[in-house]
C-alpha cells in the first residue's frame, strides 16, 4: 500500500527532476532576460530575478534592429510556408490516392533529399539567386528555404492524408461530387489539423534557419533573426548578454504558438465515430 504510493512519488520526483534539468537552460534564459544587469553580473549569480525588469526588452526593441529582423523572418516564413503548403498538399494527395508511373520514384526522391547537406546546395543556389538579381532579397531566401521545407511538408502531409479513410471520398463521389469537390468538401476539413500542424512546422523550420540567411543577405535591414541577433553577439567587446537573452525569449514565440495549437486541436477526436473500424 504505502510502498506503491512511495514508488509513485519517487518516480514522479525523479522524472520531473530530469525534465526540469532539461528545461533549465530555457528558464535561465528567461530569468536573465528579466534581471537587471546588476544581478546578471553578480558573482555568484541569483537563480531568479529579485527585481524583475522589462528594460532589456524595451532596449532591444528601441535601440536595435530587432523588430526589423523579426519582420523579415516572419515574411520569409509566411511566403515559404504559403508556397510549400499548396504544392505539398497537391503532391501528397497525388501520392496517396492516385496510381501512375513514377510514383515510387517520387517517393524515393523525397527520402533522398533528407540525405542532402545544405552546404551542397548553398553555393550553387547562391550563384543562381545572385544571377537572378535576388541577392540580398527575401525572395532569394524563400527559394532556398523551399528546398528543405517542401520535402518535409510533403512527407508529413502524406501521412496525414493517408490516415483519412478513402470511404469518405467514395461516398462523396457517389453522392455526385467530382474528384476535386470531393477533396474540398470532405478531405480538406478532415485534414485541416494536419495541414495547420505542417504549416506551423514549416514556418518554424524557416524561422530557425541560419546558414542560407547568413550567406544570402548582407544588408542589415534585410537580415532575418538568427544571423541578425548573432551579429549583435560578435559586435562589441562587452557582450550584452541580457539583450541577447531578451532576444532569445522573443525568438521562441513561434514555438510557443505551435505548442498551444497542438494542445488544443490535436486532442479533439474530429473524425472518430463517423466511420466504423
Amino acid at each position: 500500500m504505502i510502498g506503491r504510493r512511495l514508488r509513485f512519488a519517487a518516480y514522479n520526483l525523479l522524472v520531473w527532476s530530469v525534465v526540469l534539468a532539461i528545461a533549465f537552460p530555457l528558464m535561465w534564459m528567461t530569468s536573465t532576460a528579466l534581471k537587471p544587469n546588476a544581478e546578471t553580473f553578480a558573482v555568484p549569480p541569483t537563480l531568479l530575478p529579485v527585481h524583475p525588469t522589462l528594460e532589456h526588452f524595451v532596449r532591444l526593441i528601441r535601440e536595435t534592429p530587432f523588430l526589423v529582423y523579426m519582420a523579415n523572418s516572419a515574411l520569409v516564413g509566411l511566403m515559404t510556408t504559403a508556397l510549400v503548403i499548396v504544392v505539398a498538399i497537391a503532391g501528397a494527395y497525388g501520392l496517396v490516392r492516385f496510381r501512375f508511373p513514377g510514383r515510387e520514384a517520387v517517393a524515393h526522391l523525397v527520402l533522398f533529399t533528407y540525405l542532402l547537406p545544405a552546404v551542397v546546395l548553398l553555393l550553387p543556389l547562391y550563384l543562381t539567386v545572385s544571377a537572378m538579381g535576388l541577392a540580398n532579397s527575401l525572395f532569394g531566401l524563400v527559394i532556398a528555404y523551399t528546398t528543405f521545407c517542401l520535402p518535409f511538408s510533403l512527407w508529413l502531409l502524406r501521412s496525414f492524408l493517408a490516415g483519412i479513410p478513402i470511404d469518405l471520398e467514395e461516398a462523396a463521389m457517389t453522392d455526385g461530387a467530382n474528384r476535386f469537390r470531393a477533396f474540398i468538401d470532405v478531405v480538406l476539413p478532415q485534414a485541416l489539423p494536419g495541414i495547420i500542424s505542417t504549416a506551423l512546422f514549416s514556418f518554424i523550420l524557416s524561422w530557425n534557419e541560419y546558414l542560407y540567411a547568413l550567406v544570402f543577405i548582407n544588408v542589415d535591414d534585410r537580415k532575418t533573426l538568427p544571423p541578425g541577433v548573432l551579429t549583435m553577439l560578435n559586435q562589441n567587446q562587452n557582450v550584452e548578454w541580457a539583450l541577447l537573452m531578451a532576444a532569445s525569449v522573443l525568438m521562441t514565440v513561434p514555438v510557443l504558438v505551435f505548442f498551444s495549437f497542438l494542445q488544443r486541436h490535436l486532442t479533439r477526436g474530429f473524425g472518430a465515430g463517423a466511420v466504423k473500424g
Partner: protein, 297 residues
C-alpha cells in the same frame, strides 16, 4: 476496357505531382549537378570565369591535412553526439512512458530544445558556458569540483565536448518522440502475459521492449547520424570551428573555402566528398539492416 478511367486517374496524379517534381528538379537536382560542375573547375571570383581543373581540386583536398583533420572532427562530433542523443533519448522516453503527473507538460518541455532556433540554443548555452559569469562555472566552483573557471569553448578537448553536449541537448528530443510513439504502440497485454509467466522487470525490458524498439532505433540511428554529420549551424555558432580548427567539421570547411577563401572549386569538392561518404554510409547501413524496409504505405 477501363483504359479511359485509368488514363484519367494517371493524368490527375501526374498533374498533382508536377509542381513538386518541378521544384525539386530546379531547386535541388540542378544545383546538385552545378555543385559537381563547380568542383571540377577553378573559378575566378572576380570574372566568374571557369577553367577546367579536372580532379585537381580533389587532389589538393586530399593532400591537405586540414581536410583530414576536419573529417576526423566530423566523425568525432557525429559519433559522440549521435550516441549520446540515442542513450539520453531512449532513457527519457522510457521515463516519460509511465503514469506521470502533468505528462503533457513534461513532454512539451522535453520537446522544446528541438524546436528552438539553433541560434537561440547556442546563445543560451554560450551564456551558460561563459567563463566569468556563466552559471555552470559558478555552480562547479561553489561545489568545489573545479578550482578555476573553465574556458569551455576556447580550449581542446573542452570545446569539442561542449559542442557535443549542446548537440545532445538540442537534438535528443527527436529520439524521444520516435521511441515514445513506438512504446505507446506496444500492447499492454504482452507485459501482462509476461508478468503472469513470472518475468522480472529487466527481463520484460530485454525480451519485450527492446525487440519492439529495434525497428525504430535502426531508423533513428540512421537519421541522427546523417543529420548530425551534415550539421553546420550548431558547431559553427558554438565555436566557429575553433579553437584553430579543433572543432572544424566538414560543413564548416565548405563554408570557409567557398565564402571566406572564395575558393568555389575546393568548397564544392568538400561538399561532394561529404555526399559520397554519406551515400556510402547509407548503402552499408541499409545492407546491414536488410530486413529494415522504409515503408511508403
Amino acid at each position: 476496357m477501363s483504359s479511359v478511367l485509368l488514363r484519367r486517374e494517371r493524368a490527375i496524379g501526374i498533374a498533382l505531382l508536377a509542381p513538386t517534381v518541378l521544384l525539386f528538379g530546379v531547386l535541388i537536382l540542378y544545383p546538385m549537378l552545378q555543385s559537381i560542375w563547380l568542383s571540377l573547375h577553378r573559378t575566378n571570383t572576380l570574372t566568374l570565369r571557369q577553367n577546367w581543373a579536372g580532379l585537381d581540386n580533389y587532389a589538393d583536398l586530399f593532400a591537405d591535412p586540414a581536410f583530414w583533420r576536419s573529417f576526423l572532427n566530423t566523425l568525432i562530433w557525429t559519433g559522440g553526439a549521435m550516441s549520446l542523443q540515442l542513450v539520453v533519448g531512449v532513457g527519457i522516453a522510457l521515463l516519460l512512458h509511465g503514469s506521470l503527473v502533468g505528462r503533457a507538460l513534461a513532454r512539451g518541455l522535453v520537446l522544446f530544445p528541438y524546436l528552438l532556433p539553433t541560434a537561440v540554443a547556442v546563445l543560451v548555452w554560450r551564456w551558460l558556458f561563459n567563463d566569468l559569469y556563466g552559471f555552470l562555472n559558478s555552480v562547479l566552483l561553489r561545489l568545489g569540483i573545479i578550482e578555476h573557471p573553465l574556458a569551455w569553448l576556447s580550449q581542446m578537448p573542452d570545446a569539442m565536448i561542449s559542442v557535443i553536449l549542446v548537440g545532445t541537448w538540442k537534438f535528443f528530443p527527436f529520439v524521444v518522440i520516435a521511441v515514445l510513439a513506438r512504446l505507446q504502440a506496444i500492447p499492454d497485454a504482452l507485459y501482462e502475459a509476461a508478468r503472469i509467466d513470472g518475468a522480472s522487470r529487466f527481463a520484460m525490458f530485454k525480451d519485450i521492449t527492446l525487440p519492439q524498439l529495434s525497428g525504430v532505433l535502426s531508423i533513428v540511428v540512421l537519421l541522427r547520424a546523417i543529420w548530425d554529420f551534415k550539421e553546420f549551424d550548431l558547431v559553427y555558432l558554438m565555436t566557429g570551428g575553433g579553437p584553430g580548427i579543433g572543432t572544424q567539421t566538414l560543413p564548416i570547411l565548405v563554408y570557409r573555402q567557398a565564402f571566406q577563401m572564395l575558393n568555389f572549386g575546393r568548397g564544392a569538392a568538400v561538399a561532394a566528398t561529404m555526399c559520397v561518404f554519406m551515400l556510402l554510409f547509407f548503402a552499408i547501413y541499409a545492407w546491414a539492416n536488410r530486413r529494415l524496409v522504409v515503408s511508403d504505405r
